[in-house]
């Protein structure tokens, strides 16, 4: 008896160069991919099919990441690239077009992340020039830009938003009025730090916290979705091979404690949470993706190694525990 994982679809993207990111949309019906071949592609992958919906050109360098906005704003995709640009694409009348281009950075833009839809349509972008810019859609095709200069020295590699939490009472606000959200996001940079940013009342962004634990560049940060508990959780990974899980008890609001998930033998590039935050996926330089889950007694358990290579389509996966160092 064992768990089976099965490849249900293989999409041939026909990218002519390395693929750097692939993201499913909200419902799992569309797939966006981006590549060193400078293109962004969108596929319809319903029912195991693959139909190319769009082949978007506009970047002049390798495209590093793509991110889908919440469907309530329509079909919108953001992409960021080595060419220092962030492009926002939108589907109008059945065709995908560039709807906005942001050129405010002096260096490669490494990461883009959409804010919780409750805040509106806001995109955070982290760049190798050390700055983070925030693009807010204000209507009629206009985007307002706020820039945090020198967010990280040398460069910013990742940005991730905190889930929306409405402070105070939960009484329904009269229509048209937005509740007062406290907007926060996390960023990771080449200064080995993770920084937490908060929007002040005057609309300016301030550094709220510095999380120090890594000894080398932070490659990715991921703020876990809220599952209704009073704790916040962030996962971070770094060039130093370590993955940390940071937790903060919201009662105190300001003390973040790191727990080492694992020390890998190679650079860890990417961490991401599943939709209900119960599994963390870690992609590393050792050609593997490991899936981790917190078990009954608070220990993080590796539940699977997903590796690439030739072999049978479905094999057994059993839960196990790796020792922490």
């Amino acid at each position: 008896m064992g768990e089976t994982v099965s490849v249900i679809n293989t999409v041939d993207t026909s990218h002519e160069d390395m693929i750097h990111d692939a993201q499913m949309d909200y419902y799992g019906t569309r797939l966006a991919t981006c590549s060193s071949d400078r293109s962004v592609k969108i596929f319809d992958v319903r029912n195991g099919g693959q139909i190319l919906v769009a082949d978007l050109r506009g970047h002049e360098g390798p495209v590093w990441q793509v991110a889908w906005a919440h469907p309530m704003y329509g079909n919108i995709l953001a992409s960021c690239s080595y060419d220092r640009k962030v492009i926002i694409w939108k589907e109008e009348n059945g065709t995908w077009e560039k709807t906005h281009e942001h050129t405010g950075h002096d260096s490669s833009v490494n990461s883009v992340c959409w804010a919780p839809h409750d805040y509106g349509l806001i995109l955070a972008c982290g760049s190798s020039d050390g700055a983070i810019s925030l693009l807010t859609y204000t209507g009629l095709g206009q985007w307002e830009v706020k820039k945090i200069n020198n967010a990280h020295t040398i460069g910013c590699n990742a940005v991730s938003w905190a889930p929306a939490v409405v402070p105070g009472s939960l009484i329904d606000q009269p229509s048209g009025q937005k509740p007062n959200y406290i907007k926060k996001f996390a960023s990771g940079g080449c200064d080995n730090l993770i920084k937490l940013w908060k929007e002040e009342e005057d609309g300016q962004w301030k550094e709220e916290q510095k999380l120090e634990a890594h000894s080398d560049w932070v490659r990715d940060v991921a703020w876990a979705p809220s599952i209704g508990l009073p704790t916040s959780t962030i996962a971070s990974c770094s060039q130093d091979g370590r993955v940390f899980i940071w937790t903060c008890d919201d009662a105190s609001g300001s003390t973040w404690s790191p727990k080492l998930l694992h020390k890998f033998n190679d650079v860890v590039w990417h961490v991401s949470w599943s939709i209900t935050a119960n599994i963390l996926a870690v992609s590393g330089g050792d050609n593997k993706v490991t899936l981790w889950k917190e078990s009954v007694d608070g220990q993080w358990v590796c539940i699977s190694d997903v590796n690439k290579g030739q072999g049978s389509v479905s094999t057994s996966v059993t839960e196990g525990q790796q020792s922490e160092q």
């Binding site: 490849v7 390395m18 499913m24 060193s36 508990l229 190694d305």
Partner: protein, 656 residues
């Protein structure tokens, strides 16, 4: 917490070949994406072409099995029923009810097993057939475990009845004997059948002594030399003291009688009564619970728990529940004989015999591919008040944790998601949040499905989700030019901004085409009209048209004027409104009063003289000067004429 020795095993993704490339990974709502990449971001593309494939991977494919779907559907019904009767369960009837629920679950498993078995047999030479077969074994194992848990934890059988339940358990699961019986009895000369003695032995091993005696009598008939011995053995079988349900004897009495009987069997063995017939002699040893004799029948026993139960039957019939584990462990050890190690199933059963419920659940979670089993079993055991609360990082107890894990798998399915909702509902601590996270991700492929999802959200006051879903649907409708649909969705979402947007589109359409679409909707807005100013204007403007159509000109006129003076009408529309006023001004009778006419004049002046008011985003510039000037001229003329007529009318005596 124990350490597991096994490392997590590796899942290979086929086709992704190179050893130098890394793997990129992301989560979809129900699946995972994997592709080859290189994380070391170099500016220049390496001239080596990367792999263009992206693999979409999914766990938990059980949810997509048509046969298992019945299992999910029916067990869902049992689950919900159990939660509902919880309050009514008290006292003695409580246990009986819970046992009934347990049996219901088990019968659902068996039904599913049956069906799958049919498919396996029909398809037996293909890979699919083999897959079905293996599913059947898994289901069978699940039922085996569940049955044991029912006996030990829910029925809580005491010493005495315990053995009878265990016997039933074994008979249910080691059932080749029935086929064998049919074979042998169906033959011409049963006692000469090659499997005859195997059959008799199996019957004895399972404590089916009446049937065994019948077999022996057949042997006696055909083989006169052994008739005597068969009779003696048959008598021994007949007189073995058993606890029958409803029997009023105490356990002590039973033990005493059993002891006597055991001694009698022993005497026969010592006296060599069966010495000349090795079959019969070995049967006598079995009746004496002789381990060596039992182990000789390993093949017929086929597994250690059968061995255990037979041992208990013939040596410790009044075994106490708390002593079970000792016999279980020794039975397992003896049966495996150091030749093989216990399998996961063995460990689970052992944990059950040790009454270590948490261990049972843990081992089952590890061994089974789907959360279905542990989720439902744990829930039932929780209702039996057998689980201590285990605090997880997730903050709640194990029951909720498992149920929500199971429910997560359901949400991925296009129709089973509805079952998932109920499971979330019955998890008071974390169910709601889990539901909120999942429900928004359900693809709203049809209007019907969207309505279902919305109903679920509305019933649970999940206003955020309602708003979000309505907004998504409204946007989709606007993109497909279904303005009426978009409007009703924005009203349902109570989204003022979007309602304004859609109303603007309606008005724009009117200006272009001269008529309204979706009149029904606009006419019946009711209080929803108040949602946004623009929407109110739209409704009122339509009302103006209706009044005009009904020839209620005075009312129409007042309404028209009020639309402008109350600032509800967007400035961009004033020209249209004034133009609408023209036919009213041209009527034979005077409709606009003098005062009203002055107001209209003022509005016209406002419009033609001033620059746009600040804050008005889409003020229509007075373009095409010629047409505009002509319009204005015509209006001025009409207004002036009306002013004159109204002054005269108001100045005159009534009726003249």
């Amino acid at each position: 917490m124990e350490e597991f020795d096994s490392e997590p095993t590796v899942t290979w993704i086929p086709g992704v070949n190179s050893q130098k490339k890394q793997m990129c990974f992301d989560w979809g709502p129900g699946e995972m994406l994997v592709c080859e990449t290189s994380f070391n971001r170099k500016e220049k593309s390496e001239m080596v072409a990367g792999c263009p494939f992206i693999h979409i991977i999914r766990k938990d494919i059980d949810v997509y099995s048509k046969i298992l779907r019945k299992l999910f559907n029916e067990s869902h019904g049992i689950f919900v029923g159990l939660q509902r009767i919880e309050e009514e369960l008290t006292g003695k009837s409580r246990k009986a009810q819970l046992v009934r629920v347990s049996k219901n679950y088990r019968s659902v498993i068996r039904a599913c097993m049956e069906e799958m078995h049919q498919f396996a047999v029909a398809d037996k030479d293909s890979a699919r057939g083999r897959q079905f077969s293996s599913q059947v074994s898994i289901l069978s194992a699940m039922e085996l475990i569940w049955n044991l848990c029912e006996i030990l934890f829910i029925e809580v059988a005491p010493a005495g009845p315990l053995l009878l339940y265990l016997l039933d358990w074994v008979r249910l699961h080691v059932c080749e004997v029935d086929n064998l019986s049919a074979d042998v009895l169906g033959s011409e000369n049963p006692s000469k059948h090659e499997s005859f003695w195997n059959l008799v032995t199996t019957l004895v091993l399972q404590g089916r002594l009446d049937e065994a005696r019948q077999m022996l009598s057949k042997e006696a008939d055909t083989n006169p030399t052994s008739a005597g011995m068969c009779r003696v053995l048959g008598d021994l079988m007949r007189t073995m003291p058993v606890l029958s349900p409803g029997n009023t004897q105490t356990l002590t009495e039973l033990e005493l009688r059993w002891q006597h009987w055991h001694e009698e069997c022993e005497r026969h063995l010592q006296d060599g009564t069966f010495a000349s017939n090795p079959h019969l002699e070995s049967l006598c040893k079995v009746l004496l619970g002789d381990d060596a004799a039992l182990l000789e029948q390993k093949e017929l026993l086929s597994n250690w728990y059968h061995f255990l139960v037979t041992r208990l039957l013939y040596s410790q019939p009044t075994v106490k529940p708390m002593d079970l584990h000792l016999y279980a462990q020794s039975s397992l050890d003896l049966f495996l004989g150091g030749e093989s190690s216990p399998e996961p199933l063995d460990n689970i059963l052992m944990a059950a015999f040790e009454f270590d419920i948490h261990q049972v659940i843990k081992e089952c979670s590890l061994a089974l591919s789907n959360w279905w089993f542990v989720a439902h079993l744990t829930d039932l055991l929780d209702h039996c008040k057998l689980l201590q609360s285990h605090n997880l990082y997730f903050g709640s107890n194990m029951r909720e944790f498992l149920l929500l894990e199971y429910a997560s798998g359901l949400f991925a399915h296009h129709s089973l998601w509805q079952l998932g909702v109920d499971y979330c509902d019955h998890c008071p601590e974390l169910g709601r949040v889990s539901l909120e996270l999942h429900i928004e991700r359900i693809p709203l492929t049809t209007e019907q499905k969207a309505l279902k999802v919305l109903r679920v959200c509305e019933q649970r006051q999940m206003t955020e989700q309602v708003r979000s879903i309505c907004k998504i649907l409204a946007m989709k409708a606007v993109r497909n030019n279904r303005l009426g649909s978009a409007l009703s969705w924005s009203i349902r979402a109570k989204d003022a901004a979007f309602a304004t947007l859609v109303s603007d589109r309606f008005l724009r359409d009117y200006c272009e085409r001269g008529c309204f679409s979706d009149l029904d909707l606009i006419d019946n807005l009711g209080p929803a009209m108040m949602l946004s100013d623009r929407l109110t204007f739209l409704g009122k403007y339509r009302e103006f048209h209706r009044l005009y159509g009904e020839k209620r000109f005075v009312d129409a006129a007042s309404l028209l004027l009020s639309l402008m003076t109350s600032q509800i009408a967007p400035r961009s529309f004033w020209m249209t409104l004034l133009t609408d006023a023209l036919p009213l001004l041209e009527q034979k009778q005077v409709i606009f009063s003098a005062e009203q006419t002055y107001e209209l004049l003022r509005c016209l002046e406002d419009l033609t003289s001033g620059r746009p008011l600040c804050g008005e985003p889409d003020v229509q510039q007075l373009q095409d000067d010629d047409i505009e000037t002509t319009k204005v001229e015509i209006l001025r003329l009409a207004l002036a004429r009306n002013l004159a007529r109204s002054i005269i009318k108001e100045g005159s005596l009534e009726g003249s």
